[in-house]
């Protein structure tokens, strides 16, 4: 009978499922060793999720056609230096989820065709200098979820063809200068979930083709200026760090950047020129840069679709904003100190605009002119005293309008016929009623006073009351019997809803009681 790994008469080990074309799946069978009597022409062998603790010498000696070997999820603690000898065609070796404490460098030596090597989720603390010698074809290396305290610069130096590397989820605290100097082919580098506090000015020199760099969830306290050595960078993440300042011209050498993840940093200052000339930038989220006073220049950001800039001391929106950002769909400028709004004409693709919690006082005729795609507009918690009667006239797609907690006394209704949600609560100067016919699609409305809901929620005696009111407020209301039929049949929620102590009619003939 054939010994472990010895070829059988094109048979299949009893524990395995073989497809007859060279693929053998022996995964999850509780095996303690490599199955015997495998076909000599096996090119794919999966013995993952078993209980194999060691690989003895020459265990795959005659499986010379093997291209993919899966040993993930065993309990491997030791791999004999000669265990993998003979595997000259091997391209993919999966050793993740085992108990290895060091890289089995001698065992790897002869694998000249190896392209993908997985060593993630072991307990590797040491990477011998010769770990990857001879692996000139290696393209993809997983070393994440181990116990590395530093970047194994020496051993990695042999991997000139490497294109994807992850060192995430280790205990790395610093990236020395020239740590990846030989990696001109590297495209993806993951360093997230380490303890990186310091990155040298020249740490990323040599990474001429890097497109993705993930530094999320580390302890960085200063902006990693070393990214300026990455001309091909498209995606950069350094969210969840301790960075307070994004310096001037931070990304001047990264013209291809599409995505920058920088949330969950205690940002306070953002350089005005930090984000200039990023023509591929797709979205930008800057929250809580509390000491930032000037709107960062976004010149050239023609691809920007989403911009969030909140929690700053910015007092004005530059007039050029929409000249550059004509791809903008969502704009969130809430929780700033904005007093005056420019015209948003050029942002004709805008769908959501959030200006909540600023100091805006006036809405001019042309402020929102041309925003035919706008669905959601939030102007709540400002100081708006006056809204031009045509301010909303071109907002033909507007469905949600929040104007709550302002100071205006009357609402222009031109252009609001598409609304299904309208919030006006907290505008205590707005005492007059509203005419339901201006809002044929309304589902939810919140108003300053309960009696104003009577026109919307069908209190029987509302008509006589509202007819009488018309004289006082000058707001056009049609109170004859036709109004009865026009009442909106669809379910509509109006708050605060009238009740015993908030009647639709007078209470003892006194207006004052009614207004409470």
């Amino acid at each position: 009978t054939a010994g472990p790994g010895q070829p059988g008469p094109a048979a299949c080990a009893s524990w395995c499922r073989c497809d007859g074309d060279g693929r053998a799946d022996c995964s999850g069978r509780g095996l303690a060793g490599v199955p015997e009597r495998l076909s000599a022409f096996t090119y794919y062998l999966d013995i993952s999720m078993n209980n194999i603790t060691e690989l003895p010498a020459n265990v795959f000696k005659n499986l010379t056609y093997l291209e993919e070997l899966r040993l993930a999820g065993n309990d491997l603690t030791f791999i004999h230096p000669e265990a993998l000898s003979g595997l000259h065609q091997l391209k993919v070796l999966m050793l993740q989820n085992n108990q290895l404490k060091t890289v089995p460098s001698q065992a790897l030596r002869g694998l000249h065709a190896l392209q993908s090597l997985r060593l993630d989720a072991n307990h590797i603390t040491e990477v011998p200098e010769d770990s990857f010698e001879g692996l000139q074809q290696l393209r993809h290396l997983w070393l994440d979820d181990n116990n590395l305290a530093e970047v194994p610069m020496g051993p990695l130096g042999d991997l000139g063809s490497l294109q994807a590397l992850t060192l995430a989820l280790n205990r790395i605290t610093r990236i020395p200068d020239h740590a990846f100097a030989n990696f001109s082919s590297l495209v993806v580098l993951h360093l997230h979930n380490n303890k990186i506090k310091e990155i040298g000015r020249n740490s990323f020199n040599g990474l001429d083709n890097l497109e993705t760099l993930d530094l999320n969830f580390n302890n960085l306290e200063t902006f990693p200026e070393a990214v300026q050595a990455l001309p091909k960078l498209k995606e950069l993440g350094f969210h969840s760090n301790n960075i307070a300042v994004i310096p001037e011209r931070a990304f001047q050498n990264n013209p291809l950047l599409r995505t920058i993840h920088l949330y969950d940093n205690p940002l306070s200052i953002v350089g005005v020129s930090a984000f200039q000339n990023l023509s591929d930038l797709h979205s930008l989220m800057l929250r809580g840069a509390s000491k930032t006073e000037l709107f960062p220049s976004l010149a050239g950001a023609a691809s920007l679709e989403s911009l969030t800039l909140t929690g700053t001391q910015i007092g004005a929106i530059p007039s050029w904003l929409c000249e550059d950002l004509h791809s903008l769909r969502t704009l969130d400028l809430s929780y700033n100190e904005i007093k005056e709004l420019p015209g948003f004409q050029g942002c004709f693709q805008l769908e959501e605009l959030n200006l909540q919690h600023n100091h805006i006082q006036l809405i001019h005729r042309d402020t929102f002119q041309g925003l035919a795609s706008l669905h959601i507009l939030d102007l709540s918690r400002n100081e708006i005293t006056s809204i031009h009667q045509d301010a909303f006239s071109s907002l033909t797609s507007l469905t949600n309008l929040d104007l709550s907690s302002n100071h205006f006394s009357s609402l222009p209704t031109a252009g609001l016929s598409s609304l299904n949600q309208l919030k006006l609560a907290g505008n205590l100067e707005m005492k007059g009623p509203l005419a339901p016919r201006h809002f044929p699609r309304l589902r939810t409305i919140s108003l300053p006073y309960a009696y104003q809901c009577c026109a919307f929620t069908g209190c029987e005696s509302v008509l006589s009351a509202t007819a009488e009111d018309e004289g006082k407020t000058g707001v056009s209301i049609n109170a004859d019997s036709a109004e009865e039929e026009e009442r909106i049949p669809l379910p509509l929620h109006c708050s605060p809803s009238p009740g015993a102590f908030k009647p639709c009619e007078y209470l003892l003939g006194s207006w004052m009681i009614r207004l409470t």
Binding site: A72, D145, Q163, L169, E211
Partner: protein
């Protein structure tokens, strides 16, 4: 005793949704079973998926790259479908301009 509905490597199992939480270092893959999602624990993600490791959970996510069979991350392919050419983690019907397959492989280089 792990209920039958859960594969090996499961830490928290449910009768209705299979595994809810896998043992440390294993990936959870959410498979669809008619209207239900079933959690399965794996040491490596299946074809068309890649593993994302995080301190609290490891998950199999779909490769989002066209014509890719196995990927390293959301935007880097390690193995293109049969007959396609690869260059820097992307898959092509033919090598991009200025590049050509290197000595009989399906990898493009300048």
């Amino acid at each position: 005793e792990v209920p039958p509905s859960c594969t090996r490597g499961c830490e928290v199992c449910s009768e209705y949704n299979g595994c809810l939480k896998c043992m440390p270092k294993l990936f959870i893959l959410l498979e669809r079973s008619d209207i239900r999602q079933i959690g399965v624990c794996l040491a490596s993600c299946p074809v068309g998926y890649f593993g994302v490791r995080n301190p609290d959970m490891n998950k199999c996510n779909k490769c989002k790259i066209e014509n890719c069979e196995a990927c390293f991350s959301r935007n880097f392919c390690t193995k293109c479908k049969e007959g396609l050419y690869s260059h820097r983690g992307r898959c092509y019907l033919s090598c991009p301009e200025g590049l050509s397959p290197t000595n009989g492989t399906t990898e493009c280089a300048s």
